[in-house]
Subunit: 127 residues, 4 copies
């Protein structure tokens, strides 16, 4: 099951080329992950336990521009004991403009830890 | 005595109007304040004690653009028991393009506190 | 008539003090202005005509933190021939945490221009 | 030949986890690429011709924090007719904390174009 959330592109997101500054696509992906976890109320998002980005592989396919409404789609690709690999794509007018594979490590009490059963089940539901 | 520090304008600082995004001038001012305190080694910049911005009055006079080298000039206007008012201007090719008055409160152990003698003397040297 | 719009605070908005980075409150205000104009479909938001920030006076009253939902309230204070002064406040749990007065100049074909009748009427409706 | 440039981590670069916000490592890499091209005066950095990021593969190895001085190291991995693959790593106290492979396309007059001989020679010097 794929999760979706949309955001407006504001001036702050663009650069002098008139398009969204490349690093900001990662911000939109992070917002989507935050909303996904917060909406489930299953933990994974507090001072004590959170996810950190370990790696990202991203393709910048075509640009978004000021005022565009872009949609971040998130699904799980692989669920490990203490990490998860997600695919996050961004679409604009139903075309994919950005595609990323992100590896997240689950941190609890400041160290990599096993995913709780709840988190695990949630990510399985996102496969 | 006025303090000066220069920064390059990168893509990240600009927006789709082709100029520096307005809020980013405040970032350049903050960088200048950080460098000013760090270079003195007189405290005021750690987990335990730091300054927070209480208010700002800023005029956006003319824009900077990609690749410009801009210079932040900082001087003290007024030094209180637990706060300081600074004037920070940004120049480009010797013209002032941004002018701000910022009020900073000194926080120690999470509450507004009296400036140490060292900090006080330093800000007096910036009058 | 006051306009309101709410935003979530994400990691990108916060800094190492654990609170929203001061300059980012200006970003939230700009988002609110963009949405306000876009929702009216009365111009003032294109390559050919737009508003630029001339000055801001802002008080940082208390901080917002990660995951907070903050609301930007915008009303007009004064409407000139080619500029408008807005009051923008940000609230969190019904307390005002940020208060700003922003002066915007209307730019058309690259120079300060008289507000169109439509824009003028809209801002009057925001008084 | 590897190019190096150092930057200070300011508040704006950090987030509420007390570390540099992940997407900002890409900003530091972009700054390094800009300085690299600007310092050579060989084109590739203007309204008419520039590079755009096509893809990135990045490992976030360990975090940088407020006030750290980090160094971006850039070298060329592969030089194509109209694109170049660079390796950019970021080090802190001589440890590598971030490692990326970035693919850049050369754009001239709005379309992917052959690298000029000057740009090509420069990137060869960075192998």
């Amino acid at each position: 099951m794929q999760k979706e959330i949309s955001f407006r592109v504001y001036y702050e997101d663009t650069d002098a080329q008139g398009i969204v500054y490349h690093a900001n696509y990662l911000k939109f992906c992070e917002r989507a992950r935050s909303e996904m976890l917060l909406s489930q109320n299953i933990g994974g998002f507090s001072d004590r336990e959170y996810f950190i980005l370990r790696s990202v592989q991203a393709d910048f396919i075509s640009p978004a521009r000021l005022n565009d409404i872009i949609t971040v789609h998130t699904k799980a690709l692989q669920i490990g004991a203490s990490k998860v690999i997600l695919e996050q794509s961004i679409s604009l007018n139903e075309s994919t403009i950005f595609l990323a594979k992100v590896t997240l490590a689950y941190i609890k009490d400041k160290k990599p830890s096993r995913l709780s059963e709840q988190l695990r089940e949630f990510f399985i539901s996102c496969l």
